[in-house]
Protein backbone atom coordinates (compact mmCIF):
# COMPACT_ATOMS: atom_id res chain seq x y z
CA UNK A 1 0.00 0.00 0.00
CA UNK A 2 0.96 3.59 0.16
CA UNK A 3 3.88 4.65 2.18
CA UNK A 4 3.10 7.89 3.84
CA UNK A 5 4.04 8.86 7.31
CA UNK A 6 4.26 11.96 9.38
CA UNK A 7 7.73 13.39 9.15
CA UNK A 8 9.12 15.03 12.29
CA UNK A 9 7.23 17.80 10.69
CA UNK A 10 6.20 20.49 13.08
CA UNK A 11 7.88 23.72 12.23
CA UNK A 12 7.08 26.41 14.74
CA UNK A 13 8.64 29.42 13.17
CA UNK A 14 8.45 32.94 14.51
CA UNK A 15 5.13 34.44 13.73
CA UNK A 16 4.46 37.52 11.78
CA UNK A 17 0.83 37.53 12.79
CA UNK A 18 -0.41 38.43 16.25
CA UNK A 19 -2.83 36.75 18.65
CA UNK A 20 -5.34 34.06 17.70
CA UNK A 21 -3.96 33.25 14.28
CA UNK A 22 -0.81 32.04 16.02
CA UNK A 23 -1.78 28.40 16.58
CA UNK A 24 -2.62 28.00 12.91
CA UNK A 25 0.90 28.69 11.84
CA UNK A 26 2.08 25.10 12.01
CA UNK A 27 3.54 23.46 9.00
CA UNK A 28 2.60 19.85 8.38
CA UNK A 29 4.79 17.83 6.07
CA UNK A 30 4.17 14.39 4.63
CA UNK A 31 6.49 12.29 2.50
CA UNK A 32 5.08 10.38 -0.46
CA UNK A 33 6.47 7.84 -2.86
CA UNK A 34 6.46 8.62 -6.57
CA UNK A 35 3.54 6.47 -7.68
CA UNK A 36 0.16 7.72 -8.83
CA UNK A 37 -1.71 5.71 -6.20
CA UNK A 38 -0.62 8.21 -3.53
CA UNK A 39 -2.68 10.98 -5.15
CA UNK A 40 -5.70 9.99 -3.06
CA UNK A 41 -3.63 10.54 0.10
CA UNK A 42 -2.34 13.90 -1.09
CA UNK A 43 -5.89 15.09 -1.75
CA UNK A 44 -6.99 13.84 1.67
CA UNK A 45 -4.04 15.59 3.35
CA UNK A 46 -4.44 19.01 1.69
CA UNK A 47 -8.24 18.72 1.86
CA UNK A 48 -8.14 18.24 5.64
CA UNK A 49 -5.75 21.15 6.06
CA UNK A 50 -7.88 23.41 3.88
CA UNK A 51 -11.09 22.48 5.69
CA UNK A 52 -9.46 23.03 9.07
CA UNK A 53 -8.32 26.44 7.86
CA UNK A 54 -11.95 27.25 7.10
CA UNK A 55 -11.97 27.21 3.29
CA UNK A 56 -15.36 26.62 1.63
CA UNK A 57 -16.03 23.34 -0.25
CA UNK A 58 -15.35 24.92 -3.64
CA UNK A 59 -11.94 26.20 -2.54
CA UNK A 60 -11.14 22.90 -0.81
CA UNK A 61 -11.80 21.11 -4.13
CA UNK A 62 -9.65 23.65 -5.99
CA UNK A 63 -6.75 23.16 -3.58
CA UNK A 64 -7.05 19.37 -3.85
CA UNK A 65 -7.14 19.50 -7.63
CA UNK A 66 -4.15 21.87 -7.84
CA UNK A 67 -2.09 19.71 -5.45
CA UNK A 68 -3.01 16.58 -7.44
CA UNK A 69 -1.96 18.22 -10.72
CA UNK A 70 1.31 19.40 -9.15
CA UNK A 71 2.10 15.98 -7.67
CA UNK A 72 1.17 14.21 -10.93
CA UNK A 73 3.71 16.42 -12.71
CA UNK A 74 6.41 15.67 -10.14
CA UNK A 75 5.86 11.92 -10.55
CA UNK A 76 5.62 12.04 -14.31
CA UNK A 77 8.22 14.67 -15.22
CA UNK A 78 10.63 15.20 -12.31
CA UNK A 79 11.05 11.45 -11.76
CA UNK A 80 10.03 10.19 -15.22
CA UNK A 81 7.65 7.73 -13.59
CA UNK A 82 10.36 6.04 -11.46
CA UNK A 83 8.35 4.55 -8.58
CA UNK A 84 10.89 4.30 -5.74
CA UNK A 85 11.67 7.95 -5.17
CA UNK A 86 10.23 10.25 -2.52
CA UNK A 87 8.93 13.79 -2.43
CA UNK A 88 7.44 15.99 0.25
CA UNK A 89 4.19 17.90 0.46
CA UNK A 90 3.73 20.59 3.12
CA UNK A 91 0.76 22.65 4.15
CA UNK A 92 0.91 25.82 6.12
CA UNK A 93 -1.87 28.21 7.02
CA UNK A 94 -0.99 31.85 7.58
CA UNK A 95 -3.62 34.44 8.47
CA UNK A 96 -5.66 34.40 5.29
CA UNK A 97 -3.91 31.93 3.07
CA UNK A 98 -3.00 28.28 2.69
CA UNK A 99 0.45 27.57 1.31
CA UNK A 100 1.02 24.15 -0.22
CA UNK A 101 4.59 23.29 -1.17
CA UNK A 102 6.00 20.31 -3.02
CA UNK A 103 9.69 19.52 -2.66
CA UNK A 104 11.31 16.97 -4.93
CA UNK A 105 14.85 15.98 -5.81
CA UNK A 106 14.20 14.90 -9.36
CA UNK A 107 14.80 16.68 -12.63
CA UNK A 108 14.04 20.39 -12.63
CA UNK A 109 10.63 20.90 -14.18
CA UNK A 110 9.42 24.45 -14.25
CA UNK A 111 5.69 24.59 -14.89
CA UNK A 112 5.90 28.29 -15.69
CA UNK A 113 7.99 27.39 -18.75
CA UNK A 114 5.27 25.16 -20.11
CA UNK A 115 3.28 26.67 -22.91
CA UNK A 116 -0.35 27.40 -22.06
CA UNK A 117 -2.85 25.32 -23.96
CA UNK A 118 -4.76 27.22 -26.59
CA UNK A 119 -8.29 26.84 -25.27
CA UNK A 120 -9.71 28.54 -28.32
CA UNK A 121 -8.06 26.07 -30.66
CA UNK A 122 -10.16 23.72 -32.67
CA UNK A 123 -10.78 20.45 -30.88
CA UNK A 124 -8.71 18.50 -33.34
CA UNK A 125 -5.76 20.89 -33.06
CA UNK A 126 -5.76 21.24 -29.34
CA UNK A 127 -2.63 19.98 -27.64
CA UNK A 128 -3.35 17.45 -24.97
CA UNK A 129 -0.54 18.48 -22.58
CA UNK A 130 -0.09 21.51 -20.36
CA UNK A 131 -3.62 21.25 -19.07
CA UNK A 132 -2.74 20.34 -15.50
CA UNK A 133 -0.42 23.31 -15.17
CA UNK A 134 -2.97 25.62 -16.70
CA UNK A 135 -5.58 24.41 -14.19
CA UNK A 136 -3.13 24.85 -11.30
CA UNK A 137 -2.60 28.49 -12.25
CA UNK A 138 -6.32 29.10 -12.64
CA UNK A 139 -7.27 27.40 -9.37
CA UNK A 140 -4.66 29.04 -7.12
CA UNK A 141 -3.80 32.67 -6.43
CA UNK A 142 -0.07 32.12 -6.81
CA UNK A 143 2.12 29.42 -8.33
CA UNK A 144 5.88 29.78 -7.82
CA UNK A 145 8.70 27.47 -8.77
CA UNK A 146 12.34 27.43 -7.77
CA UNK A 147 15.04 24.93 -8.42
CA UNK A 148 17.89 25.03 -5.88
CA UNK A 149 20.59 22.72 -4.57
CA UNK A 150 18.21 21.41 -1.94
CA UNK A 151 15.66 20.43 -4.56
CA UNK A 152 12.82 21.71 -6.70
CA UNK A 153 10.24 23.67 -4.77
CA UNK A 154 6.78 24.38 -6.11
CA UNK A 155 4.65 26.74 -4.01
CA UNK A 156 0.88 27.00 -4.41
CA UNK A 157 -0.96 29.74 -2.53
CA UNK A 158 -4.71 30.04 -2.03
CA UNK A 159 -6.20 33.06 -0.28
CA UNK A 160 -9.46 32.92 1.61
CA UNK A 161 -12.57 34.64 0.38
Amino acid sequence: MQEFYYKKSIDRRPLQVPHEAAFHCIMQTLTFSTTFDILDDIRTFVGEQAREAGFNPKDVYSIQLAADEAASNVIEHAYDGKPNEKFEVSCEFRTDRLIVTLLDHGKAFDPSQVEEPDLKANLLDRKIGGLGIYLMRKLMDEVRYESTQTGNLLTLVKRKG
Binding site: L39, K58, L124, R126
Partner: protein
Protein backbone atom coordinates in the same frame (compact mmCIF):
# COMPACT_ATOMS: atom_id res chain seq x y z
CA UNK B 1 -13.08 4.40 -9.46
CA UNK B 2 -15.79 2.07 -10.71
CA UNK B 3 -16.70 1.86 -14.35
CA UNK B 4 -19.51 0.13 -16.26
CA UNK B 5 -20.60 0.20 -19.87
CA UNK B 6 -24.23 -0.17 -20.90
CA UNK B 7 -25.27 -0.82 -24.48
CA UNK B 8 -28.17 1.05 -26.06
CA UNK B 9 -29.51 0.78 -29.57
CA UNK B 10 -27.67 3.75 -31.02
CA UNK B 11 -24.94 4.36 -28.50
CA UNK B 12 -23.09 3.10 -25.45
CA UNK B 13 -23.17 4.65 -22.01
CA UNK B 14 -20.20 4.68 -19.66
CA UNK B 15 -21.13 4.99 -16.00
CA UNK B 16 -18.09 6.24 -14.11
CA UNK B 17 -18.12 6.52 -10.31
CA UNK B 18 -15.66 7.63 -7.66
CA UNK B 19 -12.41 9.39 -8.51
CA UNK B 20 -10.59 9.72 -11.82
CA UNK B 21 -6.97 10.87 -11.48
CA UNK B 22 -3.59 9.94 -13.01
CA UNK B 23 -3.83 6.60 -11.22
CA UNK B 24 -7.28 5.60 -12.49
CA UNK B 25 -7.56 7.52 -15.80
CA UNK B 26 -5.91 4.70 -17.81
CA UNK B 27 -8.85 2.44 -16.87
CA UNK B 28 -11.30 5.14 -17.88
CA UNK B 29 -9.50 5.52 -21.24
CA UNK B 30 -9.59 1.77 -21.71
CA UNK B 31 -13.37 1.68 -21.23
CA UNK B 32 -13.80 4.46 -23.81
CA UNK B 33 -11.37 2.78 -26.23
CA UNK B 34 -13.22 -0.52 -25.91
CA UNK B 35 -16.39 1.15 -27.21
CA UNK B 36 -14.63 2.82 -30.12
CA UNK B 37 -13.03 -0.50 -31.02
CA UNK B 38 -16.55 -1.88 -31.59
CA UNK B 39 -16.98 0.94 -34.14
CA UNK B 40 -19.44 2.70 -31.88
CA UNK B 41 -18.76 6.41 -31.93
CA UNK B 42 -21.70 7.71 -29.94
CA UNK B 43 -20.96 7.66 -26.24
CA UNK B 44 -22.80 9.10 -23.26
CA UNK B 45 -20.80 9.41 -20.04
CA UNK B 46 -22.92 9.26 -16.88
CA UNK B 47 -21.04 11.23 -14.24
CA UNK B 48 -23.72 11.25 -11.53
CA UNK B 49 -21.59 9.08 -9.23
CA UNK B 50 -18.34 10.87 -9.95
CA UNK B 51 -16.66 12.58 -6.99
CA UNK B 52 -13.51 13.87 -8.57
CA UNK B 53 -11.78 14.22 -11.93
CA UNK B 54 -8.35 15.68 -12.64
CA UNK B 55 -6.90 16.73 -16.00
CA UNK B 56 -5.90 13.09 -16.56
CA UNK B 57 -9.62 12.30 -16.90
CA UNK B 58 -10.19 15.39 -19.06
CA UNK B 59 -7.50 14.19 -21.45
CA UNK B 60 -9.16 10.78 -21.71
CA UNK B 61 -12.46 12.50 -22.58
CA UNK B 62 -10.79 14.73 -25.14
CA UNK B 63 -9.04 11.82 -26.85
CA UNK B 64 -12.36 9.95 -27.10
CA UNK B 65 -14.16 13.04 -28.38
CA UNK B 66 -11.52 13.43 -31.08
CA UNK B 67 -11.93 9.85 -32.31
CA UNK B 68 -15.71 9.98 -32.17
CA UNK B 69 -15.99 13.29 -34.03
CA UNK B 70 -13.62 11.99 -36.71
CA UNK B 71 -16.12 9.21 -37.22
CA UNK B 72 -19.21 11.40 -37.24
CA UNK B 73 -20.11 10.54 -33.69
CA UNK B 74 -19.90 12.35 -30.39
CA UNK B 75 -19.17 12.02 -26.69
CA UNK B 76 -21.77 13.71 -24.48
CA UNK B 77 -21.80 14.13 -20.71
CA UNK B 78 -24.65 13.62 -18.26
CA UNK B 79 -25.27 14.63 -14.64
CA UNK B 80 -21.94 16.38 -14.21
CA UNK B 81 -21.44 17.27 -10.51
CA UNK B 82 -20.96 20.96 -9.79
CA UNK B 83 -17.29 20.88 -8.76
CA UNK B 84 -16.34 18.84 -11.81
CA UNK B 85 -18.36 21.10 -14.10
CA UNK B 86 -16.48 24.11 -12.70
CA UNK B 87 -13.12 22.47 -13.41
CA UNK B 88 -14.22 21.46 -16.93
CA UNK B 89 -15.27 25.05 -17.48
CA UNK B 90 -11.87 26.37 -16.33
CA UNK B 91 -10.21 23.99 -18.77
CA UNK B 92 -12.41 25.25 -21.60
CA UNK B 93 -14.02 21.85 -22.01
CA UNK B 94 -17.65 22.88 -21.63
CA UNK B 95 -17.69 24.08 -25.23
CA UNK B 96 -16.39 20.75 -26.44
CA UNK B 97 -18.97 18.52 -24.80
CA UNK B 98 -22.73 18.76 -24.75
CA UNK B 99 -23.98 18.24 -21.24
CA UNK B 100 -27.35 16.91 -20.07
CA UNK B 101 -29.00 16.80 -16.66
CA UNK B 102 -30.22 13.28 -17.10
CA UNK B 103 -28.34 10.25 -18.49
CA UNK B 104 -31.32 9.10 -20.56
CA UNK B 105 -31.68 12.55 -22.02
CA UNK B 106 -28.03 12.28 -23.08
CA UNK B 107 -28.67 8.88 -24.68
CA UNK B 108 -31.73 10.29 -26.45
CA UNK B 109 -29.66 13.13 -27.91
CA UNK B 110 -27.32 10.77 -29.74
Amino acid sequence: MEINTKEFKHCDMVVVKGRVDSSTAPQFSKALDAIVEKNIYKIAVDMSGLEYMSSAGFRALLAAQRTCKHNHGEVVLASVPERIREALELAGFTELFKSFNDPLEAVGSL
